[in-house]
Structures are given as C-alpha cells and as structure tokens.
Point group: C2
Chain length 418, copies 2
DNA sequence: TGTTAGCACTCAACCGCGAAGAGTGCTAAC
DNA sequence: GTTAGCACTCTTCGCGGTTGAGTGCTAACA
C-alpha cells in the first residue's frame, strides 16, 4: 500500500507539488519546490524524488521538459491523507450572504427542496465552482400529515397532500361527476382521518372500504381519488436537479477550449446523468470525493466531484455536489461543504475556531473527543474505503507528517509576512 | 426612408449578402455575390453597390481588405422586408419529438407553466439556439375557481387556491391555534362559496365580514387565512424563467472567445435581466425581433432576440424568446416560433403548406384573405413600428422583389441540383 | 549511501518575416 | 451605366531561430 511505497519525504514533496499546482495551474518543477517550500533539500534531490513519484504513478509530465502535474492517483492520496484543511476553514460568507441564506432557508412548507437549492447556491459562491443540488429522498419513509380533496369543477378535483417533512404536492383527479362536492368533502375528511400518520404504502383496501362505508361512495368511484393521492406521493419523491454557476466552468483555464467547455455544459444539462453522478456518491451522510476518471461519466474525466448529503431532523434533504476541474481546490471545497452542512444541520453553533474537520489528515482516527461522530463518518467516506490503510503505521506516519506540515506552514507564513 | 434610399438592386444585393453571411459567417465579397447568386452583374458593379450600401450604413467592413458584414441596420431591413420564410417553413420536428411534446403538453392542472417550458425546449431544438421561456401573466385578471384551507397541525394550515386557468398554488398559514380544524373547514367552505368566481382584488372587507359572521370567527383571526390566499396569488403571478440550451451559445463561432461566452452565460443566469429582456418585447401577441444594440442589456450587443408571446384560450401563458448571435438564422427562428405557436394555440390545424406567415416580405399588407388577423398582428410587431414605411411604393417594390427572388431561388436550386 | 553541483539536452512558447490570398478602390475603356 | 484590369491593403499561415524552464545524468562530496 501507499505507506510502504512512499516515505514521509516523498509525501511532503507530493503535497507541495499538488498544493502548488492547485494554486498556479502551472506544471511545477523541482526548483520551485526547493525554493518556495523550503524543505532543506536541493532541487536535484527533489528532482530525483519527483522522478520516483512519477514512476510510482503519482505525478506525470505533460512533456519532457516541463514540470510535473499530479495524476488522479496523486490527487487521491492528497485528498485522503495530505491536504490540510486548517488554512481554508477561516473563511466565512459575508454578513449579507449569511442574511440572505438565512432568510431563504426559513423552513417554508411546500418548499422544502428550496433549502438544498439555496445551500447549493451558497456552496457555488463560496467555492467558485459549479454546484449541483439533487433533491428527493425517494425512500418512501415519509408519513402523511394531512390531505384534502378540493372540488374544482364537476368531475374534477385536486388532491393535496402534506407529508411529515412538510412537503406539499397536488395532483388532479378526474372522478365520477355523480359525486357532488359535499360528498367529496366527506370523502376528503374520512381519508384524512384514516390515512394521516400512515405511510402511503400502508394504505390498504380495508381503509378504502372504510372510507367507502362512511361516505356511501363505492370503492370503484373512490379509486380515482386514491390514485390522485398516490400521484402526489410520486411527485414528492421525484428527484429534482438544480445546477448553479455553470458559467463558472468557463473561468477555469482547463476549459478555455470552447469545444471542451461545451461538452461539459451539455452534460450539466443532462439531468439524468447528473442524478446518476451525484446519487452514486451519496450513499451515506458525509463527503465523497470522486477524482477524474474515478467517476464514470464519459466526458468528465478531467473533472472531480465532491458530494455531501444533508439531512435535517432525520429527513434526508438531498445531496449537493461540487463539480470542477481535477485541479480543484479540494481543501476549500471540502471546507465549504462542511460549513454549509453545519448551517443546514442548524441550531448547534460550534464555538468559533472549532470545526468538525480539524486535522490535517482526514483519515486520522479521531484523536481526542473532538466530535468523533462526525469525524469518524467523514473519514470513512472521504477516503472512499481507505479504512484498510488506516493502520498503526499510517497513524504514526500521519502524526509526524502533521508536525512537519505545521512547521512548514509556519515558515512559509513568515516568509510571506516580510 | 429606406424606399427612397435603396433601389431594388441594392436590396437584392443586401439580401444576398445577409443570406450568405448567415450561412457562412464569413465576410462576403463582391465576387461571391456575383458568382453564387448569379444576378447578371459583374463583381465590379456589385462592388460599387456594396460601397454605397456601406456608406448608407447597411454594411460594414471588418478591415479594408475584407468582405462586407451586415450592420444592425442591415439586419433590421432584412427582417422587416427582405427575408423570405418559404424556404424555412418546410421543416417539421421528428415524429418522436412531436409525440414527446404532445404528451408533455397535456393540459395538466397546476403545471400550466410546463406548457410554455416544453414549447421553449422544442424551439431551442428546432432552431439550435438558446431559448428562454418566461411564464406568468402577472396581470391580475385571473379569477378564483376554487380554494380550500387544509388544517395541517394546530395553528398551522395550508391555503390552496385554483385559478380559472387551472394554476394551483399553496401557501402556509399560521393562525390562532384556538381555531380548531372543524371551524377552519367551515371557514374554508365559506371562503370558497364567497370568493369563487371573483378576482382577488375583488375580495373586500364585506366579504370577510360575511365569512366571519357565518363561521363565528373574528375578523382579526380570519386575516391570516386571507393573507395566505393573497400569498398564493402572489406566487401564481410570480414570473418564472427557464433557459434551454444555454450550451448552444458555445457552438457559435462568434462566441469562441471564452471570456465573451462566459459573459453571455452569466447574463443568461440572471433571471431578472432575462425577464426584462423578454418582457420588454412581449407587449402584444406576436413576434418581436430585437437586433444587436436594439436591446438595451449591456453585453448582449452582439446578440439578437426574437420573442413570441402565447395565449391559450385567451389566457396568456407567457413568452418564448430565442437568443442568438446577431448573425442568426432569422427566417428559421421566426418559422420555428410560428410553428410552435400553431401547435400551442392548439386545435385548429392548418392544411399542409398553409402557414400564417406566407409572404416573402413580412410587412406586405395582407393580400388575399389568408388569415389576415394573424398576419396583420404579426406584421405590426415584427417590423416594430414600420407601418409608416408600408406605403404604395413599398408594396410595389416588395412585389417585384418577390418575383425576382423566386427566380433567383429557382436558379440557385437548379445549380445545386446538378 | 544519500546529496548536490554542473552540464548537456529537450521542448513548448514566442517573435519576426515573408509568401499567399482574398478583397477592395480606382481608372480607363466599352 | 457597366466592366476589365491593376495596384494596394491587410489578414492568415507557415517557417526558422531564439529563449527559457526544466529535466536526466554524471561525477564529486559529506
């Protein structure tokens, strides 16, 4: 595994290369590393290490006389173990942004999915990447809170249903015109009485017969109404996709080729593909990162996706994904998604400076009691099944690494300060 | 006016230049016109005419030794008088497309705005340009067809309203928890009884008092409910914007510059701007063309907009706009919007070959009795106030012109046939 | 044995130049 | 009024040389 393959120094160099590449988008050369990230090594030494890293598949060269560029494998290691999130977590949205988000996140009945959309907007603004929001739990666990049949005109009515997460949906019912509004209202009341508190699947013929009996409407005549209710549920469970900031793709130099950019934008409009893309990653609550060719959609090989699923009060709202070039600012994206998660999960404000991702290495097992729940879940997901790698060695390695990292960061800051 | 300014030959040459430029996107030179559109003139003569046309502002030169390119003024004249729609009207969507559109256009309650959106999709597919659909009449003329207040939980209810165009909207009501569901239902019934058939503005204190009296609920306690109903109306009248095929902008060579393309795409995402853009043009039923700098939005100076407003059964559905480069295929776009209009207006199928725009020159006053209503309205709008130009001279000129055009077209076809 | 200095080599990016080609405007002849 | 001819303009394209960043390799060094 990686631990055997890469010693500490190689990892530090890899990290430096990727950090620098993310920042500058230029292939990075040995001299740059030696100078900018002064690690007490000459460029020649670093050159040798970089050659090794290339041989191992973590780096590659655009052409012979160019610097190195991270490979997908390199990014993978980076997001799993190398990147440090501390630097990036300082950011906060502007007060206006927050106000806007807060006001729009007011829990508004019938507009549940708005929350995830607003969050998606925020994520896109914070990260400067395109974000995709996918709503819809489609898990059939929600219960009916209230329902009503509204007579519209003879033979035509509207079924309205409110679920326990306050989703509202309506559907048209074409019914036997012989059922007059008054009877329809009685049906409505009976249905409400009998169905409220149940999941839709639990509605059975007995219940329908009971309604039939109480209202004097035959079971057959009742069916359109029941169908209408089912239609509502179907609508409530349909998946919706919102894309925010698609134009931002054009800001990234890797898509300065119009043809490429167009390809991406066309994919972005394919709701079915986006649902696949996002849903595939959103098995659990937590962050999932798919790098370059790791995601299967043809045409997104030069893109990475970071997704986060959100639940509020146990109700799954949906998933937000950030789509950007493989060379994306992973720390920032992870931090932004995490920030929004905290906002969305609501209530529980963490003291300033405390964040749920706090360690430089994501797959460090929770050290002290710093929110182990979230940390644990995250580590699992971010590393995408890297549990097997997180042995004692890894732990040790990472800890040392972190110390070195901090030293490195400090010295860089001093440099910049002058 | 133009008639005095331009003789027939100049107009024919201008038409040829624009037709060719629309087709090839290359600045067109005198030799091209002379050869491709054989009009029995040498390139030198055409050169002189083109120099005149440039002096008059209908053409311009990118640089000294290049061909000519139409100016906005040139396009204006073209869409007003020169373009012939016959060639373009032959197209039909594929059977699958039609089936898809038809099935999705099924008048579905509560999803009224879907129709305009589906139509917009179709337009985008037919024209290969970006289309923008703006829904919402916001004219306050709709009447309440049915309404209902649905108790959800103590102190919380849902107002549902159905308007006479079958728009459905709902809104949350936070009311005095002292009002029990049974009373709420009575309020609902009373409101329905009293308000149905009225416009919202017509709801007055007398009516509210009547409800209060019939239900025993105080006027003050009733107000949240009324507010909820108003909220519904507000939602129903809110304008929605759908953009379809934004990526298509990137196919046009004039936007091969990524910066430019990004600017456009960002504008496309600005709903407020798009509403302004489309609504400004949609004063009447009919087509409106805005060319280049004619539309006021900064950044769309190199774009043209063609909009068409649609009503079904007297209810204004919304407006569809096509946004593309100034060098857009105007005949095709006009034809597509007109085609969709016929579909959307529904029912009345015209015999094959008969179309509501049938003349080569749009501002010809209706000749025989070929659907003068539609034609008349269209001419007014398309020419954007060109009525004053449509005198006897114009008529004469145009008629001759058309004959010449047909000859020209025929000979071109023969050429291509071999 | 690991590290470093030095050097030759590679290759993309840039620049300037000249040739090619399309198209014009002007003039003189028809 | 129309057209042929010609000189002129200006973009586009391809070519070759230069520059500079970065590499790999080798030999010396600690």
């Amino acid at each position: 595994m990686e631990q055997d393959e890469l010693d500490l120094r190689k990892m530090l160099i890899l990290k430096a290369v990727i950090d620098d590449y993310i920042e500058t988008r230029e292939p990075v050369g040995s001299r740059t590393i030696a100078k900018k990230y002064d690690m007490g090594l000459s460029s020649a030494t670093i050159r040798n290490e970089m050659a090794d890293l290339e041989e191992l598949g973590y780096l590659s060269q655009p052409h012979t006389s160019a610097g190195r560029v991270p490979s997908d494998k390199g990014y993978r290691l980076y997001v799993d173990k190398l990147m440090n999130l501390e630097e990036k977590l300082g950011f906060e949205p502007t007060p206006e942004e927050l106000e806007d988000v807060k006001s729009r996140m007011q829990h508004e009945i019938g507009e549940m999915s708005d929350q995830i959309r607003v969050a998606s907007e925020l994520v896109s603004r914070l990260t400067e990447y395109t974000s995709i929001a996918v709503t819809g739990a489609a898990d059939g666990t929600r219960r009916i809170k209230a329902l009503q049949v509204v007579p519209v005109e003879p033979g035509k009515a509207l079924a309205v249903i409110v679920l326990d997460d306050d989703t509202v949906r309506n559907a048209v019912i074409q019914h036997d015109p012989a059922i007059v509004p008054e009877v329809l209202m009685k049906v409505s009341t009976q249905c409400n009485l009998l169905f409220a508190g149940h999941r839709v699947e639990e509605i059975n013929l007995n219940m329908i017969d009971a309604v039939s009996e109480a209202t004097g409407v035959s079971r057959a005549a009742l069916m359109p109404v029941i169908d209408g209710l089912f239609e509502c549920i179907k609508k409530a469970e349909s998946t919706e996709v919102y894309t925010e900031g698609a134009a931002k793709f054009l800001s990234h130099p890797e898509f300065s080729d119009v043809g490429k950019a167009r390809g991406i934008l066309e994919l972005l409009n394919r709701d079915d593909l986006m649902i696949d893309l996002i849903k595939e990653c959103s098995t659990a609550d937590g962050l999932v990162i798919r790098i370059g060719s790791e995601n299967k959609i043809e045409g997104l090989n030069e893109c990475s996706v970071v997704t986060a699923s959100y639940s509020v009060n146990g109700v799954k709202l949906g998933t937000i994904g950030v789509l950007g070039p493989t060379r994306m600012d992973y720390p920032r994206v992870v931090a932004a998604l995490e920030y929004v998660r905290r906002r969305l999960t609501g209530g529980r404000e963490l003291p300033a400076g405390t964040v749920s991702i706090q360690k430089g290495m994501l797959n460090l097992e929770g050290e002290a009691g710093t929110e182990p729940g979230i940390d644990g879940a995250k580590a699992d997901n971010v590393t995408g099944g890297a549990k097997d790698n997180a042995g004692v060695d890894a732990d040790n390695l990472a800890r040392t690494d972190k110390v070195r990292n901090e030293g490195l960061l400090r010295s860089r800051k001093q440099e910049e300060g002058q």
